[in-house]
Amino acid sequence: MHGLINRAIQSFFCTTYGTDRWQRVTEAAGLEFCEYEAMLIYDEEQSFGMLDAMAAELDRPLDEVLEDIGTFLVSNPQVESLRRLLRFGGVTYVEFLHSLDDLPDRTRLAVSDLHLPALELREHAAGQFSLTCHPGLPGLGSVLVGLLRAMADDYGALVMLDRQGGGNGNGRDVISITLVETAYAEGRSFDLGARAG
């Protein structure tokens, strides 16, 4: 798994639960290091072992922890650059949702060896969407739920999210998105010219 993903997980955990507990996670997972390097590639199995150890350490279901990671990615100032990159997807939440189709390509433009599974947004009715997350990175669906929720806050939109089809065997995750209101709250500003530090 790409170091950027591992690094993001590490920074989520350390920020939320502290480095002492992170140390315990790395030990439980049998890692011989406690710092992931963002630009290196790590063994898949080892990374999933780390996630399991994390869920065990927190005594919470992994899906829940993954959702928290998705929220962290958008809302924490440490990873402001990621929020900005996502905001480039569109001026409104709906535009942003549509831009998710391009997310794997956009990601590859930035980091050529970071491959994300295909994402597919369908609009079923006004304000009714479903996002299909194709197989390739188990757990991404849960992360996306957290991320979509936090991005809705970011745009000031009110949405209801429901994750269906997790573990239905074909490895696909489908998230249904109901947009209740596009301008529910103020949202956070996005200044095109302000480069994240």
Partner: protein, 349 residues
């Protein structure tokens, strides 16, 4: 035929930085994004070339001159501050009622977006500027991650080098290790002897036979020193051809003189390298820990140096014990005329 207003309405959507000119080169209308760059300026009615300076091609004074460059890339900039540079293209309006200039930022777009607080609404839907900005940010973030990795690796490398106590070429202790050992030993009551050993004529080997040969000689010399000393003694390479040996609890002058002699004899044995013979020698100076007045390692090393230079002045290939009546000549050059017993110049052939 559509009229000028309809044309301008269309242009607003497709090229938000357009300028519509009348036949005299005066501005009729400008696109909303261009207007955003000069919010307080009434652009309509101004002469185009008085607002914008044409930097390439130069020496264009009027609309006719501009239209002579129709379809080619124009380089322009505002005449007032901030003198944002722009790219543009001009085309005549078909029925001769003027011309349309379409402008864009070119590479200055990054600064422009910041300076003028532009948003994605200021660019036409097909404009790739937003993608460009995305890419710039994404690449900067990725570069930053790479840069941090490099810094961490560099830090780790420096730390590892600093912590290293071994001279990688010879496997002996390095200067850093020697500093540690000496600091510990002068602080303990255990007496010891300290030898400074310089290889003589080593530079000649390096110069005439190359560094690989030099390295080989150093490794041979290191092996001899290790073999001629006990396990509890310390042998360190502290410079290119400088070594320090510390003999724990060994204050017997006869024994030390014997060890020194044996080392010199063995070091003088010719060494074969790729069919060539080279020969070096060594000069040694020895001091005892109880000859230090201050208990400072630097003082001991200096006194061993004084003895070493006495050996060098005595014609090299010999060993001297430090005594207080030796004069300090360690800073003065040693005559370099002396040659090894079997002159090493031969090694060059």
């Amino acid at each position: 035929m559509i009229d000028r207003d309809q044309l301008a309405d269309t242009l607003e959507l497709m090229c938000p930085m357009f300028v519509l000119l009348d036949p005299t080169g005066h501005i009729v209308r400008v696109g909303p994004t261009l207007q955003k760059l000069r919010p307080d300026m009434q652009m309509a009615g101004e002469r185009f070339l008085e607002l914008f300076e044409l930097t390439r091609p130069r020496a264009v004074a009027n609309l006719t001159g501009l239209l002579a460059n129709a379809g080619t890339k124009l380089h322009l900039q505002f005449r007032d501050e901030p003198r944002t540079s722009l790219k543009g293209v001009i085309v005549p309006v078909p029925d001769g009622t003027g011309a349309i200039v379409n402008l864009s930022f070119g590479i200055s777009v990054l600064d422009a977006v910041r300076d003028y607080a532009l948003t994605s609404a200021d660019f036409s839907a097909t404009d790739l500027t937003i993608e460009l900005l995305y890419l710039v940010e994404a690449k900067s973030a990725a570069m930053e991650a790479s840069r941090k990795l490099n810094l961490r690796l560099q830090g780790a490398m420096i730390a590892a080098e600093e912590q290293a106590f071994t001279d990688t070429l010879t496997g002996l202790k390095n200067r850093r290790a020697m500093d540690h050992v000496l600091a510990r030993m002068v602080a303990s009551p255990v007496p010891f002897a300290l030898m400074n050993l310089d290889l003589d004529f080593f530079k000649a080997v390096n110069d005439t036979m190359g560094h690989a040969a030099g390295d080989h000689v150093l490794q041979q010399a290191a092996r001899i020193m290790v073999e001629e000393t006990r396990d509890e003694d310390m042998v360190a390479r502290v410079g290119g051809d400088e070594f320090v040996l510390v003999f724990n609890r060994l204050l017997d002058r006869k024994k030390l003189a014997r060890i020194a002699r044996r080392m010199i004899d063995r070091l003088e044995e010719p060494i074969q390298i790729e069919g060539q013979t080279c020969q070096i020698s060594a000069s040694i100076g020895t001091v005892f820990s109880n000859q230090s007045a201050t208990g400072d390692p630097a003082e001991l090393l200096h006194k061993a140096d004084i003895a070493l230079y006495k050996s060098k002045r005595a014609g090299r290939a010999c060993h001297t014990f430090y005594s207080s009546d030796l004069t300090d000549s360690s800073q003065e050059p040693v005559p370099s005329s002396s040659m090894p017993p079997e002159t090493s110049a031969r090694a060059a052939y």
